[in-house]
Amino acid sequence: MYKWFLVSKYLRTKLVALFGIAAVTLCVAMVLVVTSVMGGFLDTIRSRSRGLHSELVLESGSMQGFPYYDEFAKKLKQALPDVVRVTSPAIHTAGIFRVPALQYTKLAKVLGIRIDEYVQFNDFKKGLHYEHYYPGTTTLAQQEMLVAGLDNKGNLQLPREWADANAKWRASETDKKTIADFDAHPPDGAPYPDIRPFRRTESVFAFDPDGPFEAGPKRFGAIVGTDLLFDRDQDGKFDRYIARGASVALSLLPLSASGNPLGEPPVLLPLRYVDDSHSGIYEIDSMSVYVDVDMLQHHLAMDPQELEDGSMSKPRVSQLLIALQPGVNLDDAKKRVQSAWIDFCADMADQVTENDAKNMHRAEVATWEDMQRGLINAVEKEKYLMLIILAIVCLVAIVLLGLIFYMIVEKKTRDIGVLKAVGARSRGIASMFIGYAAAVGFVGSILGNTIGAIFVRHINEFQDFLARLNPQLRVWSPDVYSFDRIPDVVKTNDIAWITTVAILASIAGSLIPALVAGRVWPVRALRYE
């Protein structure tokens, strides 16, 4: 019993124990912060990568794409119905994005998609801003600009389509505060045209007091990566300074089936900004513009073209997105689809042109992990490197604890003699100091985990606070770390293993001093000066 009793006494009364607890606390907090941020970084990359890609992609190795994708999709569904759930073609190319009214120009990665199919493959829909508050209104098809107006009483009146969609969202939204925030700001009366919009907290409309109405001409829609178009304000919210439906444009460079520029001036494609996509991965959100795949295919001359012999070429795409049936093993499915593609190419060998054959043979099946392999591997290596560095730091902490306990044992030598004089055994004395160390480790772990968890949970607010004091203090740069926000999730199993390691490390640090304490002969301890 005396061991428990003295450990609790020493914990409360010995100042030097506080140094041990402080050392453990700082180490635990540091390890938890680094593990949570790096682990969260990796998890976010994995989950968002997964959320942005289909499970499998038949990927063209070249910008001119590959043909016969529709035929292969049909064959896949027939040959592997237990593996393939749905397919959809996609095109990706480079372009120049422009907001004409602002003369704002940026290099963009243009993705042609069928939005109704694309949202079945991944979490793309979750990242759409207007689609959230006005469900069902985001489309890449040709459309006019919707302009809000005022009714007879001077209240904002949205176009019918928007008003109905917004009512649908309000009915489904369970968080009343979100709705209150949405409604918080009254109209500012900013006049049409689209660059001086009416603004609510979360939405920006083109506005004309005589509205609502639709303003032409009809143009295809474009969904723009949030960071490509907007900046964050001090509260971390995007400052949407152009209205939904505003004119934007893409300049594209069509390529022939052999990959040569077609010799014409670049295609200037006027579009309407219909929504913005926020995946959370900066590299994607700062580059991507999503448009309709059929429209893009046409403007890139990847649709059927008349050949010199009078026949028509086959349409081409850059990717065939493939969603799998539930429960199908990803690697196994990859092998089977790849095998099916090789067989398909072989079957088509005598029917295709030389250029098409080359483009088909270049295409390969990849998993969503393969598509992000470079980034995932880099972050994994970074995480392991950090853990190695932390292991060294922990070793230093163990040595520090060893020294602290050596000091404690030195200081308590006479007490050890007294305890032995009243019958304490060597093993009991040693286990008392080991228990003392375990208690120091436990208390330090609780404090460290608490401090670390609070810090991680509020790490973004902390960074925003620092940035408000001085913009130079913003340590997390989204263009360096891919994500706009620092991962702030603490996992219970991280806390569990860190606590276990901290207690074991504390015990390890105290082991030698504890054994020394246990072995000391009573009379020597009593005579110790």
Binding site: V418, G423, A424, S426, P522
Partner: protein, 250 residues
């Protein structure tokens, strides 16, 4: 002496090696009967404390054997020796050696805590506390239960140390210069307490260099040149030393 409580035979102890070796005890033979108050006297540095430490199994002799109720002590294993220190022997030191972080009551309870496991203590804590409080009342310290050692006078600290030595009801109380660090009045109080304990049947072996203090014992042995010799007429000298003993007042 038939069936002595404690018997030491041919105890040798030396410190240092080679030319620096100091032979402190050179074949000490000593016996103490149950209920006896034995004083070991001798000049400073003659090895009195060393002998007492060996009798209490706080140290081991280089040679010789110590028996307690006929059981070997020095050659017993360490677990047995620890149990011997916990249950059979109570030790009172010249410098009290109380644990500074603990209160008076907690210091007294420590040997009992050593005796019990965690669950054993949970079962017996109340009874142990009651016994310790009674013991401290007997020492005149009932008003000091929650005080820390640094808040006590020397005499109070020594009485706390005596209570600690007695909490497990040992057969033998070993006192190493129990008044050596106290003034005459306070020392008298402590001696009075030891006398009372002895009259109640407690066997005491006390080491002292003070002949007047030693005179309170039933029997005195003198340690000199590493061996002990019986000394004087204990009864007559004891009566002469009576005024040194002061009754404990609460």
């Amino acid at each position: 002496m038939n069936n002595p409580l404690l018997r030491a035979k041919g105890i040798h102890k030396s410190y240092g090696t080679g030319a620096a070796e100091v032979k402190v005890l050179r074949g000490v033979a000593l016996e103490a009967a149950a209920g006896e108050f034995l004083a070991v006297t001798g000049p400073s540095g003659c090895g009195k404390s060393t002998l007492l430490h060996i009798l209490g199994a706080l140290d081991l002799p280089d040679q010789g054997e110590l028996e307690f109720r006929g059981e070997p002590v020095s050659s017993a294993n360490r677990t047995w020796q620890a149990s011997y220190r916990n249950l059979q022997v109570g030790f009172v030191f010249q410098f009290y050696h109380l644990l500074p972080e603990l209160s008076v009551l907690e210091n007294v309870l420590i040997p009992r805590m050593v005796l019990h496991s965690y669950w054993g203590w949970r079962r017996n804590a109340r009874q142990c506390r009651d016994e310790a409080v009674k013991l401290l009342e007997r020492m005149g310290l009932q008003h000091r239960l929650r005080h820390r050692p640094r808040e006590l006078s020397g005499g109070e600290q020594q009485r706390t140390a005596i209570a600690r030595a007695l909490i497990n009801k040992p057969d033998l109380l070993l006192a190493d210069e129990p008044t050596g660090n106290l003034d005459e009045v306070t020392g008298g109080t402590v001696l009075g307490l030891l006398g009372e304990l002895n009259r109640a049947g407690q066997t005491i072996i006390m080491v002292t260099h003070d002949a007047k203090v030693a005179a309170l014992a039933h029997r005195r042995v003198h340690l000199s040149e590493g061996v002990v010799r019986e000394k004087g007429n204990p009864v007559a000298e004891r009566d002469a030393a009576r005024p040194l003993m002061t009754e404990v007042r609460s």
